[in-house]
């Protein structure tokens, strides 16, 4: 078993996906992360021996070791506000195990209790991010990147959407297939699509955050946190404007969605969440010829996961 610590999160996830493809075939989704974590780690000197869920409001998940022996546990919240979040959290913690832990062995527990220098813990709560240091933040982003690649392998995702029109039904198919939240699914699509597209997550009339595809970014589309959601947009008009019409993207005229270098007709598809008081919009711009894009992994920044992880 090759060592995974310190490797690229996408590479480690892709290696696992290839292994799963071989063992289970293509119709193997969604990924059973708990089982995979225990199975994959069982030959390590410090395996993951327990994956325990509980109703832990306000908590995400944690990777921690046994106090008295070289074993790891994943604890996670089963009472999640967002569907699909639980699976993402599990994959995130499994990512910490593969990428970031300092491997433990029996010698670390010589006195029947772990030596102080071997102690470590990865705990992920949504509320204290402003207290994190930089290295913690990088680890969190890496764990998210790992989770996104593990749960939504790009080759499979492409097969699901290539040549298809982006509709609410198609997005539903994706979230069902991978067992992730709508946000995570769209986020992933934005990261690999060759189309000029962007996503905007908004609340109370302003963008919480957003992300443009590479092709869109290169042509001047940039979503700034805090930007005003245009009144004429679907997101600005409210659920009736979308659901009353169609489950497809709606063509908007020039001058609704404006970006510094972009003022063109946009198609918009917006999904509203009453529960969260938020909306997620997909903006589709006209395709302009661009140079071929590399498919290199894009890392997840911290924005995404704690807002809507899943």
């Amino acid at each position: 078993m090759t060592d995974t610590i310190g490797k690229s999160p996408a590479k480690v996830a892709n290696d696992l996906s290839n292994m799963l493809d071989m063992v289970l075939g293509q119709e193997r989704f969604p990924v059973d992360v708990g089982e995979l974590a225990m199975e994959r780690s069982k030959n390590h000197e410090d395996p993951i021996t327990k994956v325990v869920g509980g109703d832990l409001e306000g908590f995400e998940g944690m990777l921690r070791h046994h106090k008295k022996k070289a074993e790891w546990h994943i604890i996670h919240n089963t009472n999640t506000e967002y569907p699909g979040r639980e699976r993402f959290t599990l994959a995130h913690e499994f990512g910490h195990y593969l990428l970031h832990r300092k491997p433990l062995s029996a010698s670390d527990f010589a006195d029947k209790v772990i030596s102080p220098e071997a102690q470590q813990e990865f705990s992920c709560t949504p509320l204290e991010r402003n207290l994190w240091g930089k290295s913690h933040q990088i680890q969190e982003e890496e764990a998210d990147t790992f989770a996104s690649y593990l749960l939504m392998p790009m080759n499979d995702y492409r097969q699901q959407v290539d040549g298809e029109e982006i509709t609410i039904d198609l997005l539903g198919h994706i979230t069902d297939r991978y067992g992730v939240s709508l946000t995570a699914a769209i986020r992933k699509w934005i990261d690999f699509t060759h189309m000029r597209a962007a996503m905007v997550v908004a609340r109370d009339g302003y963008a919480l955050w957003g992300r443009a595809s590479q092709a869109a970014l290169k042509t001047g589309v940039f979503i700034k946190s805090g930007m005003t959601i245009p009144n004429g947009s679907i997101a600005g008009q409210g659920p009736e404007a979308q659901y009353g019409e169609t489950n497809k993207a709606i063509q908007l005229p020039n001058g609704i969605w404006c970006f510094p270098r972009v003022n063109e007709p946009v198609e918009e598809l917006t999904v509203f969440s009453n529960r969260l008081g938020q909306s997620i919009s997909i903006l589709l711009f006209e395709d302009t010829p661009t140079s071929p894009l590399d498919d290199g992994p894009r890392d997840w920044d911290t924005f995404d996961q704690f807002e809507w992880r899943g």
Binding site: G54, E57, G58, I75, S123, N130
Partner: protein
């Protein structure tokens, strides 16, 4: 990524059935400023602003800023609770129990 303060303000505002505009109006601020307060880590309201917001929401500044007090005796408990101070008390207790159970389990 809203701060706990921002979340509390938003929670109270929705409870009162106020829109962002209405609350902003009540405290003499702009809508976008109010939005930043609710949704951005970086927003640092003055004491006067906070007082005005608390008043408009029929609550107190103390409530909006409340961080839970921990008065545990055990030092390891203290550390545990410090680490998870953002979580509801109920969750902290539960999580702590779960971890203890996991550590006791030595029969395998």
């Amino acid at each position: 990524m809203p701060t706990p303060l921002g979340e509390r303000i938003r929670e109270q505002r929705l409870k009162k059935g106020l829109t962002l505009e209405q609350l902003a109006g009540a405290i003499g601020s702009g809508k976008s400023y109010m939005w930043e307060l609710e949704n951005k880590d970086s927003a640092r309201p003055s004491a006067e602003k906070l007082q005005a917001i608390a008043q408009a929401l029929d609550t107190t500044m103390e409530y909006l800023l409340a961080s839970e007090n921990v008065s545990e005796i055990d030092a390891s408990d203290q550390e545990f609770f410090r680490k998870y101070r953002g979580m509801p008390d109920k969750t902290k207790q539960k999580l702590k129990r779960m971890l203890e159970l996991l550590d006791e389990d030595e029969d395998e």
